[in-house]
């Protein structure tokens, strides 16, 4: 399966999905003009991944900001992972947030109540890790 790598910009998050390397990461800020246009390829990739997932999927979120329409897309990504989880595969979400950004922690906690996948919350000190 081909990997999906999208370069991070000021208003679009960086996407790094590599099935063979077992790396799944989204980071940065997300406020696209039309979130469907940006997230449809991402969701399509995950839908394909669902057909033949790894035994263990470690999914990393390192978000600094996302707007309300992006938040719906993130929920759809998590729904996709949950379907993998429900087939008995191991799935885990690492939710990183800047230690001063309680809003981002709250957002992650809210997601964790909406899907059954286990979440781990990790605070980070340095902004540079999100860029």
């Amino acid at each position: 399966m081909e990997s999906l790598i999208l370069e991070q910009t000021d208003r679009l998050p960086g996407i790094f999905f590599d099935k063979t390397a077992g790396k799944f990461e989204i980071k940065g800020s997300s406020f696209p003009e039309d979130s469907r246009v940006f997230y449809n390829p991402v969701l399509d990739w995950l839908a394909k991944y669902e057909q033949n997932p790894n035994d263990f999927t470690l999914f990393i979120f390192k978000m600094e900001y996302f707007n309300s329409s992006s938040s719906l897309m993130i929920l759809e990504m998590l729904n996709s992972l949950e379907r993998v989880f429900q087939t008995g595969k191991k799935v885990k979400v690492y939710w990183f947030y800047l230690s001063v950004d309680i809003d981002m922690l709250d957002a992650g906690k809210e997601y964790s109540t909406m899907v059954s996948i286990p979440f781990t919350f990790e605070s980070i000190e340095e902004e540079s890790e999100l860029k």
């Binding site: 790396k23 406020f31 309300s68 329409s69 729904n79 690492y94």
Partner: protein, 739 residues
Amino acid sequence: MLKPDQLRLALLFVFIFVIFNFSLTAQTINNETKKAIDEYVLLVEKYEQENNSSQQANYLNKIAYLYWENGVYLKAIENFKSSLELNKLNKNTNGIKSLYYNIGLVYSDMEDFKNAYENFHEGLSFARKLNQKESIYEGLINESGALKKLTRYNEAITDLDEALKIAQELNNLKLVRTCYGMLAENYESLGNSEKTIYYYDLFASIDKHLKAEQIKEIEAKTKDEVQKAHQSKSLTEQELSEKSTQLEVTQESLKKSEALTEQQQLELDIKELTIREKEAQIRNERLIRFGFTAIFFIILLFSLVLIRQIQAKKKANIALEAKNIQVNEQAKEITAQRDLANKQKQNITDSIEYAKRIQTALLPPSNFIRRSLPEHFILFKPRDIVSGDFYWMMTKDDKVIIAAADCTGHGVPGAFMSMLGTAFLNEIVNKIVENKHVYSLQANEILNQLRTYIIESLHQTGISDEAKDGIDIALCIIDFEKKHLQFAGAHNPLYIISNNNLNIIKGDSMPASIHKNAQESFTNHEINLNDGDIIYIFSDGYHDQIGGPKNRKFMSRSFQELLLKIYHKPMDIQQQILDKTIEDWKGTNIQIDDILVIGIKPEFSIKSTNTPILNYNWSEKTILIAEDMEMNYLFLFEALKNTGVQVLRAKDGEEALQIVESGKKIDLILMDINMPKLNGFETTQRIRLIHKDIPIIAQTALNIDEAKEKAEQAGCNDYILKPIRLKLFLSKLDSYLTK
């Protein structure tokens, strides 16, 4: 005792059981394998008789492998164990080690990890005796695998650390990769996320490297093969050329022998030659003649071709010209299209600008809000022309219902949602009040109904891919009579600053739209208010704005700290500070979302007096109204109509001064500030020179500290804010008139 019949029956059962069991084993092993095993068993017996224990052990192993391959684990273990005993007798440490490992592996396949672990452990001790690094590594990896299954993660990690060292000493990347992978899994099981990620990353990087190496190897191999093929090709080519030189040599020798006979013929040939020369002469003459004609024809042909070419060029030029015209036309068309696009863009912008007018018209006008909430501010900064954020207010008797809302999306899509939201909120509140009563207004009920309206009108069913657009909203109902506040929130919170403390009342974690918990009701928070409390509701645009020195979000914590610093300031000053702070923070960044912050300082002291208007009786009093605007004068006149007071009017400052100077009995002056000829401040100063005691109340349009201060400096007793709130206005006048 069993009777003979019963005994027979029992025996039959035993027989059937044995047959059944046998057939079960037989089922999993095919006939060929079975034959092989039988042969090996015979060989084992043979070597046993010959006392050749090493060969005996060898064939026991072969039997065990066959059983293992076919999943007959217990038989495999049995045979390995017999072999193990023989190896022990022979003191073959290497064999003993390998057999323990094998037995351990068979137990692992059976998922009996306890036995597996014991055998791996035993084997490992022999490997250590042998001091073979590879064997120790193998044992450690096997043992840690079993330990992990037994959830003895820490012991597994100890093994893996040792294995990792060996792998590093052996400089074998594949072995190192295995260690990293297994370490990551064990730390993962222990919940040590830091180390999990650490080892996982190491694993991934080595994995990537190894895969790259593999690809390189394959590439190198194919290159090698291609080269070999090339070499063999050139070899055959060489052989071929060698053979052809040989061929040439033989041909030459053949020619030499021919040369001899040629000399004999030469004489004959000379004779012939003289005849031929003569013939040639005749032929030459003919040739020259023929040559001239040929040249003539060639020249003719060339000129024909030239003419044709010139004609073709002319044609091409004409075509080119036509094409040029076409290109020009196309360029014109493109310019026309660009103009059209520009025009269309202008049209779109115009229509969005027009839409903004409609949106702005739907927002509650500021004087309408001020009438119910004299102390408030609204910081509203749309990102685009139209906005996805909106605010909404309605008053019902002594209650004010106010909301700050944030629709998914900004710009035109957000604006569509905001239109829906405004219309729905109006309808919901009006219906509740009509069908029941003002008293039954519940903040959460309004949000519940709003959610139902949105789900139904957008036909949201919860199927993924459909529009899940919705509204995040903070909605308050302020009851001025009871000094009470209701709050319900969809995602968005309410802040109350009370006695220098900021209290956060969180909204529910769901939007007003389709959602997993859309069946659940929103929470209704009820809070008693005190004088001086300040309420803030807002969208997330303010604290999510990116900027500052580190180019990050402003964050709600900074927002809270800022509010605590400025809440005691006048509301319009707070608005200015909030605006300036976020503009400075934003700097050269773009605004990422619509911004909306509403601050409210409810005034109870006036509201709660709640005196009926008709109760005032000032029939023996006279009020002078200095006001140039007809509308404003009429409003004040109407407001005072039922109090019985006598009203005098001055249309400017000079006229007011004249009336006061004329010595008429005047109990109070309402002084407009912006008037022609003499403004309110100047007039007041002049009046104060004649009458120090007449109460003068300034009317100002804005609640600005400066205006208030100026009014006081000029000698006004008090000031009222325009637009005027009737109850406040009358009670204030009463306090001066009945002193």
